[in-house]
């Protein structure tokens, strides 16, 4: 019947014309694409190319041979993987316990779990490591004062693993409680109705349903653990990990090439986990997002469950609260471990050496906040609503930066922007850029999730009534996803304030950041000053977030929690 069949290409091209007829959209796509290439792809490429090219620009593997020849570096790699597996296992297990308690148990004070989940986000990423040293270190309150142990050594695997488990299990908790709450209670009722006990139902219905979620949490925690820079630096001791080693090799030993080789190995590991997480586990979920609230679950109220699940959760929560509480406490103590009298001298010291890092960090974070927020929503809109060539690439690249360890991208920024055309090293701009592209993925995910809940016909209606792409976006799309938008804003601010792994490469004499200042105080053993700095940081975060939330509630927006 048909004279000539159109080719696959011409059909895809046909779909593409919608974009070509829309200059605003086309320009936006090009702009986003270029931004992602310059600020994510190019730095990564710089790291890779530096690791494979020698000084004269020919291909070589010598830097890999060189780095991996050292037994030390092999051990560091094995350390990273071993620690990752260990921490991911326990963090996922504890996260599951919390999620189960949250979704299934009839207990009070579940809000406490939310606080526990938020604390790691709003505090410096190595806060728990500091508290651990305060409790169990040489001058530790428990180790020295209570137990009288001299020369207690908390540095190393045990301390690091414990701290990382406590820092990262909330990730697993948030993922799993979201999943568990979405399971239709009638599935369990059906199982019980057919004669299965609660334990059998758990084993044969619930567990298989959330198994992909468990694998997902495991991989997410693994990625975070492998990328973690602050905790290994603070409490790792002789137990080195890749993320820290990259920095030490490049900045400590002035071996940039060796650093890039290690960074490439670490990057490979992280991307592998990311791809596994996104494309293998991510597609296996049985729990579908219908957006329809199912009936409320009858919560479990029997003593056995409450005691075996509820009590451990509250004990862990209480312990974590104490750990975070130690930071402000420690900032007001004269000399931790020796003299516990009240003092404000640490704050006076901070004032004396200058509050520039505090102001710089806050201002740079505030600058990057709106840019990140808007860019994140634009990318989310493109990913969910528009079909175009390269959409998959934009989605992959923008979410990839979640998985890229900070030290790798930080090094990439140093390498990529150290020469014209983009000579940014040492400026505030480079820090703002790293803030933007580090925290954007979370905004994108929030935006994607909330856009998927909105009927595309609403935007079509606006266009049908004569609105162009820009008008549709600002008069319909943004108002509809404003909650995700403002959550993205708040989150990007918080994440920028507490960032350390990438920016440690980017700070300079002219621009220093709070987290970096805290780490150097920990490094020289001034725990009191570090605690004071941390308290100021948390204070600023809470203050700004509080103001934002207040202002937003005035215009009727509730800031939903954003998953980290």
């Amino acid at each position: 019947m048909r004279e000539h069949k159109p080719t696959m290409f011409s059909l895809k091209w046909n779909e593409m014309q919608k974009i070509l007829r829309d200059p605003i959209l086309l320009l936006t796509i090009i702009f986003v694409g270029i931004a992602l290439v310059i600020f994510i792809v190019w730095p990564l490429y710089s790291v890779l190319s530096q690791s494979f090219l020698n000084a004269s620009g020919t291909f070589t593997l010598e830097y890999y041979q060189e780095s991996l020849k050292h037994a030390e570096n092999i051990r560091v790699l094995l350390n990273t993987i071993g620690l990752g597996l260990f921490v991911s296992f326990f963090a996922t297990a504890i996260g599951f316990l919390f999620a189960y308690a949250d979704a299934f148990l009839k207990i009070k004070y579940k809000k406490l779990f939310n606080i526990i989940a938020i604390l790691p986000i709003i505090s410096p990423p190595f806060a728990l490591a500091m508290s651990f040293i305060m409790l169990f270190g040489q001058q530790g309150f428990i180790s020295k004062v209570l137990l009288g142990i001299k020369n207690s050594n908390i540095y190393g695997f045990t301390g690091l693993a414990t701290v990382q488990i406590l820092t990262f299990f909330p990730i697993a908790y948030l993922v799993l409680s979201g999943l568990l709450k979405q399971i239709d209670p009638s599935l369990e009722e059906a199982s019980r109705n057919m004669g299965a006990s609660r334990w059998q139902t758990f084993k044969t219905v619930l567990l298989p349903l959330v198994l992909p979620g468990i694998a997902n949490s495991f991989l997410l925690v693994f990625i975070q653990t492998a990328a973690d820079f602050g905790n290994p630096m603070v409490i790792g001791g002789n137990f080195n990990t890749m993320a820290a080693q990259v920095y030490l090799q490049a900045m400590g030993n002035y071996d940039i090439k060796g650093g890039t080789a290690l960074a490439t190995v670490l990057l490979t590991l992280s991307i592998l986990m990311f791809v596994l997480q996104k494309y293998w586990v991510g597609n296996k979920s049985y729990v579908t997002l219908t957006g329809k609230p199912s009936r409320v679950r009858e919560l479990i109220n029997d003593k056995f469950s409450l005691i075996t699940i509820g009590i451990p959760c509250f004990l862990i929560s209480a312990f974590i609260l104490v750990l975070y509480g130690l930071i402000p406490l420690g900032s007001f103590v004269n000399l931790w471990g020796i003299d516990y009298t009240f003092t404000t001298r640490h704050y006076i010291y901070i004032w004396d050496i200058g509050i520039k890092p505090i102001i710089d960090t806050t201002i740079l974070s505030l600058i990057s906040m709106p840019i990140t927020g808007i860019l994140g929503m634009v990318v989310a809109y493109l990913i969910v609503r528009k079909k175009f060539l390269g959409r998959g690439l934009i989605e992959f690249t923008s979410l990839l930066s979640l998985a890229i360890p900070g030290t790798v991208i930080g090094m990439g920024y140093v390498l990529a922007y150290n020469e014209p055309p983009l000579m940014l090293t040492g400026t505030g701009t480079i820090i703002v850029l790293s803030f933007i592209f580090r925290s954007m993925p979370v905004g994108i995910r929030a935006g994607v999730a909330s856009l998927q809940q909105i009927d595309p016909a609403i935007e079509e209606a606006a266009q049908d009534l004569g609105a162009n792409t820009f008008q549709v976006f600002h008069s319909v799309t943004i108002p509809l996803i404003k909650s995700a938008f403002f959550s993205g804003l708040v989150y990007s601010f918080v994440r920028s304030m507490t960032a350390v792994s990438a920016v440690i490469f980017l700070v300079s004499a002219s621009v220093n950041l709070l987290t970096v200042a805290i780490m150097s105080q920990v490094d020289v053993g001034r725990l009191g000053v570090a605690a004071a700095y941390s308290t100021v940081l948390i204070g600023i975060v809470l203050f700004v977030v509080g103001i934002l939330t207040f202002l937003l509630s005035k215009i009727g927006v509730s800031v939903s929690e954003v998953q980290g």
Binding site: K5, P6, M8, L11, K12, N14, E15, Q17, K18, R21, D22, D455, A457, I458, E460, A461, A462, Q463, D464, L465, G466, A467, N468, Q471, S475, V476, P479, L480
Partner: protein
């Protein structure tokens, strides 16, 4: 409203790239002419391409081939926001963050009309759809039927050249659906805008349209007025899709001067028909259930296999020479009702015999 226009669709085609290199032909070279002010309905089962045609006219889908004219103008290259069409969506697609006034005023504001003009137009359209005083409500404070009217008002207020309806009533309950389709019919007559309506509900199509286009697998099966489509379906598919039809095999005995003689259920019938069949062909006869009746005497013997009281009618299934037929007897309270298992005779209203290939 003076600017109502014709719509011409020429060889319109839409092919989607499917999985594994397969091509999905959603719309297969369809041509339609719609006169100014006409209300036409695209009717067909889901997946027949009716919504795709509507979305191509609105500009949401880019055709693979063919072209679309509104009035004299070819609109192929125009993006949706530049097309003089207004659509009423299946899900209404009301802006949840705007109140009713601002929902309806949305397109007018984009057009940058003055505040006074907007106010005046919105209140005029609100009274047309019977929603006076609802300006400040949020969409979710309205009932389904009211939301439907807002969606209609929002499209009407644009005074478009063409109104597009994408299964607008499918989210309403049965009674409201009937009420709303009459409202839409009334309002469309009043304003006289050319309208294209998509539905899979044949009774909706019958009651509302000047013309119905029955579609199947991306092709047009038949174009005609509701009466033509019902009484003279072109194919077995149309006959079956519109109302209930018994499709009975028959044999053509002779054809001369437009009179076709057939053997149907063992009896010889002569009937004028435009169906292009030759002597000796097999053909099919469309028999509507309400054109059949049952009695104690006659020429065609039958057995009642089921008998169901429906209120306004008694619905029978009967078995005739191994063929199962549906029969509908209206007003059963005043008639003899046959129970399942009764042996009876079937009589056929000759005028209602319709021959298809």
């Amino acid at each position: 409203m003076t600017k109502t226009k014709s719509v011409q669709v020429k060889d319109l085609e839409k092919i989607y790239p499917g999985q594994d290199g397969k091509q999905i032909v959603a719309v297969n070279k369809v041509s339609i002419n719609i006169k100014p002010g006409e209300f036409i309905t695209l009717l067909g089962p889901s997946g027949c391409g009716k919504t795709t045609i509507l979305r191509m006219i609105a500009g949401f889908e880019i055709p693979t081939g063919g072209s679309i004219f509104i009035g004299e103008d070819n609109i192929d290259k125009l993006p949706p926001d530049k097309r003089d069409t207004a659509m009423v969506f299946q899900s209404y697609a009301l802006f949840p963050h705007l109140d009713i006034f601002n929902n309806i005023a949305y397109g007018l504001k984009i057009k940058k009309l003055s505040k006074d003009v907007i106010k005046q137009k919105v209140s005029a359209i609100l009274s047309l759809v019977g929603l006076e005083g609802m300006e400040n409500r949020a969409p979710n404070q309205l009932s389904g039927g009211q939301q439907q009217r807002v969606a209609l008002a929002r499209a009407l207020v644009m005074e478009p050249a063409v109104l597009l309806f994408d299964e607008p009533l499918s989210n309403l309950d049965a009674k409201l659906r009937v009420y709303m389709r009459n409202e839409i019919h009334k309002i469309q007559r009043k304003v006289g805008i050319t309208s294209i309506y998509v539905t899979h509900d044949q009774s909706e199509a019958m009651s509302i349209s000047d013309k119905i286009i029955v579609m199947r697998h991306g092709n047009i099966e038949q174009i005609g007025t509701p009466l033509e489509i019902y009484a003279n379906p072109a194919t077995a598919f149309v006959a079956d899709f519109i109302g209930i039809a018994n499709i009975v095999p028959a044999k053509v005995l002779a054809r001369k001067d437009g009179i076709t003689t057939i053997n149907l259920l063992g009896l010889i019938w002569s009937k004028s028909s435009s169906c292009d069949v030759q002597s000796g062909d097999d053909c099919k006869i469309v028999l509507r259930p309400e054109c059949l009746s049952l009695s104690h005497s006659g020429e065609i013997k039958a057995v009642v296999t089921s008998s169901v009281f429906m209120g306004e009618s008694q619905d029978y299934t009967i078995s005739v020479q191994g063929i199962s037929l549906e029969v509908k007897e209206y007003n059963p309270c005043n008639k003899e009702v046959f129970a399942a298992g009764s042996e009876i005779f079937l009589s056929i209203d000759k005028l209602s015999i319709h021959i298809i290939k």
